[in-house]
């Protein structure tokens, strides 16, 4: 049952990314070159909708939250490494799967590179513990830090994102 649910959610996820153009190299690079911000705005929209929905569910105790630990230094370093890969590959770990399904052979190679990168991480994981332990604040969210209900943050945050999407971010076309 869980497997079928996973397959169904995954199929919807893949189809949405494909239909929205997130699996296109030029859309990702367009965003990173700040020329075509569609992918960034797609992400912001999903967060603006998701955050309110998730914390509304949480209010009635129906959200299966999964909060990741905040280790400032380790996450910053990880993001810097990820960002280089993002620009060089032109895909992320999810969109390369979708792009591979579109018959793009470079995306298939990105999956192989990803398997290699995860393997290398598995080899060096013990020596990364220092980085992860440093400045580790645990599973902290903005509402938990202020000890308030999530919706109090989610609603204004979502409003800011809508403002950002529709007012602030303007595409610069070539």
């Amino acid at each position: 049952m869980k497997l079928i649910l996973g397959l169904t959610i995954g199929m919807a996820f893949g189809a949405i990314l494909q239909l929205g153009g997130a699996s296109q190299y030029r859309k990702i690079l367009g965003t990173l070159l700040l020329k075509d911000l569609d992918v960034l705005k797609l992400i912001l929209m999903s967060i603006a909708v998701g955050t309110v929905g998730i914390y509304a569910l949480d209010l009635v105790d129906m959200a299966n939250l999964s909060i990741k630990p905040t280790y400032v230094v380790g996450i910053t370093v990880a993001g810097l490494i990820f960002g280089v890969g993002f620009a060089v590959a032109g895909y992320c770990p999810g969109t390369c799967v979708v792009a591979a399904a579109e018959g793009k052979t470079d995306a298939m190679v990105t999956i192989l590179g990803g398997l290699a990168g995860a393997f290398i991480y598995a080899l060096v994981a013990p020596s990364m513990q220092g980085l992860i332990g440093m400045t580790n604040y645990g599973n902290v969210t903005i509402p938990s830090a202020f000890d308030i209900s999530g919706l109090w943050i989610a609603i204004p945050f979502s409003a800011i994102l809508f403002l950002l999407m529709f007012k602030v971010l303007k595409d610069r076309y070539e």
Partner: protein, 178 residues
């Protein structure tokens, strides 16, 4: 060539947000990058079982004699199926002149498929190394994490875009100069 997306970012983003809410209600928020480790574990447990047993990180994903294919793995497999189906149905399957070369990349770096493959492989390795160090990727950390207002996810998102934007500018010097 049909390379315009079928859905606008507004509609696609809305649908993705709704899917994230549904997934959070039914199982848990969306995530992808863990499944690369799971896949490595599946492969290594059959190819080099002794090594796989001895690696603590690989062992932390899955339990003995039951490696791999669970909810999360099926989700990523589903992404392949769903993405392929929608590409096929909207006539966007195999639209490139050369399957390995994005036209934009070709305009900057030329027609070398091996060179593109090197970029694609190295990029993939960096992506997953970074994602495993952070504990998630664009979906798990950025979309799901920021939606849950996780502080580390905001840091991850800012860090990704800072280095991604800088790297893209270094890669596309010719394009930016013209």
């Amino acid at each position: 060539m049909q390379d315009q997306p079928v859905l606008s970012w507004k509609v696609a983003g809305l649908l993705l947000g709704l899917l994230l809410i549904a997934a959070t209600a039914l199982v848990k928020p969306l995530g992808v990058s863990t499944q690369y480790v799971v896949t490595d574990a599946i492969i290594l447990h059959s190819a080099a079982p002794n090594f796989a047993e001895s690696n603590e990180y690989l062992n932390s994903y899955g339990v003995k004699d039951d490696w791999g294919v669970g909810y999360g793995w099926m989700l990523v497999f589903g992404m392949f199926v769903g993405g392929g189906l929608s590409a096929f149905l909207t006539k966007r399957f195999r639209q490139r002149e050369t399957p390995s070369l994005p036209p934009m990349w070709k305009a900057e770096f030329g027609n070398s498929s091996p060179r593109r493959m090197m970029h694609a492989f190295a990029g993939g390795a960096l992506l997953l190394f970074g994602a495993r160090l952070a504990g998630g990727c664009t979906s798990g950390h950025m979309i799901s994490g920021i939606s849950q207002l996780t502080i580390g996810s905001f840091i991850f998102g800012a860090s990704i875009f800072a280095s991604g934007i800088l790297t893209a500018r270094m890669l596309y010097k010719k394009r930016l100069a013209s």
